[in-house]
Amino acid sequence: MRELTSSPALPRVARNLAAPSRERALRRTALAATLVVLCVLPFFVNDYVQFVINTMIVYCLVAVGFNVVIGYLGQLAFVSAGFFGVGAYATGLSMAHLGLPFPLAAVIGTLAGGLVGGLVGLPALRVRGHYLAIISLAVGEILRWVYVHAEAVTFGAGGFTLPDVRLGGQLLGDKGKYYVFLAAAVAAIAATSLLLRSRFGRAFVAVRNNEPAAASLGIRVKRVKVIAFAWSGLVIGLAGALYAALNGRVSPDSFGLAQVLLHFAIVMIGGLGSLLGSVLGAVLLTGAPELLRNFPGLEEIVFSLMLIGVLFFMPKGLGGLVARTVPLARERLFRSNGDA
């Protein structure tokens, strides 16, 4: 039994366990330092930059949620704009029609996203490949049509303004919103990370790779697919809720094909199957210079060229690039001894 391994097994096993703990300590320190910086950030930036940062947080969440379906589960479904819109509308309408306070409305928005996610997961069981892409496009457009035409409920094509966004009675300005967004995003991203490093994350990838093989291991393929879509819906729904609060307005044209491109570009450029990549991609593309927005079409041109570039030269995106150069940042699909 000696031919396939180059040296005795036992000492190697012991060494494998030791090296990662140094890695883990480093990773923990890096994360802690980042969190500290993030907490004190508002004191050093002006209101406009604060707004941009808040927007980045929203898109980080979108990217992370979308990545679960197209990166980990590997299904091409143009669902992100749909979940995003459902989250925003559910949140805004709960506040506008039912007078609910923002935190509760945001929970409703998140749950609505999850519900729609699960529902969209069902046709995804029957339909795959380009058919799934097409049907998801259609569903997204149906949703938008509903926003425009169900005027009595959704206020129609012009959209509507949210009532004041308050937390515990206090009106939230951009800096206040930042802390709320940050807390929500950190929680959601941490939960997603934990999920992906569990048997569920591995199940997603196994299903993506070879469904019969996954089934032969006892993985319930249909359940796994619906779970992935539902989770994606939850996270992107939460992003939508925050988006509504960010702008104080919700309108149908924010959730069309232009959003789809943005979400796609962020996830692809960030790297399919990389949470860190999704965060990096969101920060990069949201922080794109205002210059891009002043000329019609320029944003589309730049993003699509970047996307094409990534597809040709850097299929693993930014996340892959970082993982290659900084081993610390490699994302695993399991939790080992000592991990939280």
Binding site: I70, Y131, I134, A138, E141, E299, I301, S304, L305, I308
Partner: protein, 289 residues
């Protein structure tokens, strides 16, 4: 009224059929689902606008210009963007076409911004009376052109040697190349043809719908609906699906509510893919995993 709806439906449906046919050519020859086809459609119309208004050429010359332009675009796209990725998974190729679609949309938005450009009809003149319904000359042209294209297709693929060769090459590329058929060249040519068909559709309908950068996305979903309804990957299916969709939209608009016209195509997609994914004429086809 029913006759009028049918007649208008067939006219609009013919455009859908043309676009769907073009997309089906691309799908059959390279198994790529071209999410960028709407932009070929849009560029056809814009090509005429640019040639007419910027370069001052006559309508006829502008049309030729636009068609040649799109032939080049189709051929280039296949050579530069699709061929290098031919062994990549479906997701990558699909995303490539999505990215290209946004690139083309962005470029036209860059030059035409928020403008919506009108285009005069190719065939003006008195509308034709047809058994209680009115058919505009332009619409008659659309239907006629589509009928000619469809007939041409049939004759070409079923009756000519070259047509059969092309079919063989799509179905069994390796065998075809062993026999000496230049498969890459064929694929390249097919993309050119498909793009030109998309452009032709755009040019034909632009006088009715006006020309604007987002007209592609709107058409893309309708073409998908036509392909799914008729049977994805089937030529007769694309035509049947397109015309049926056009008629359906008009019937819905006439008898139910005009607000629902917009959403008819989307509902058709959902209904067909959930209930009978192979469409009306359903066929076996290769699907990239």
């Amino acid at each position: 009224m029913l006759v009028q709806l049918l007649v208008s439906g067939i006219a609009v449906g013919s455009v859908y059929a043309l676009v769907a046919l073009g997309m089906t050519i691309l799908y059959r020859s390279t198994t790529v689902v071209n999410f960028c086809h709407g932009e070929f459609f849009m560029l056809g119309a814009f090509g005429v606008v640019v040639a007419q208004q910027l370069l001052g050429w006559s309508y006829g010359v502008s049309i030729v210009f636009a068609l040649v332009l799109l032939l080049a675009v189709g051929v280039l796209t296949e050579r530069v963007l699709i061929r290098p990725l031919r062994n990549a998974p479906f997701v990558t190729l699909a995303m490539m076409t999505v990215a290209l679609s946004y690139l083309l949309k962005g470029v036209s938005r860059f030059f035409y911004g928020r403008e919506v450009v009108p285009l005069p009809p190719l065939l003006a003149g008195e509308p034709i009376e047809l058994g209680g319904a009115v058919l505009f000359a332009q619409d008659a042209l659309i239907v006629g052109f589509t009928a000619v294209v469809v007939a041409g297709f049939f004759v070409f693929f079923q009756r000519t040697q070259l047509g059969k060769v092309i079919q063989a090459a799509s179905q069994a590329p390796r065998g075809a190349s062993l026999v000496g058929i230049n498969v890459p060249l064929l694929r390249n040519a097919m993309w050119g043809v498909g793009a030109v068909m998309g452009a032709a559709a755009g040019i034909l309908i632009a006088p009715n719908t006006l020309v604007y950068p987002d007209m592609g996305g709107h058409m893309l979903i309708r073409a998908f609906a036509a392909m799914c309804l008729g049977g994805f990957g089937s030529f007769p299916g694309a035509v049947l699906g397109g015309v049926t969709l056009g008629v359906l939209e008009n019937l819905v608009g006439g008898f139910v509510s005009s607000a629902l016209v917009e959403i008819t195509a989307y509902l058709v997609i959902v209904a067909v893919l959930v209930l009978r994914p192979q469409g009306i004429l359903g066929e076996g086809r290769s699907v990239r995993a």
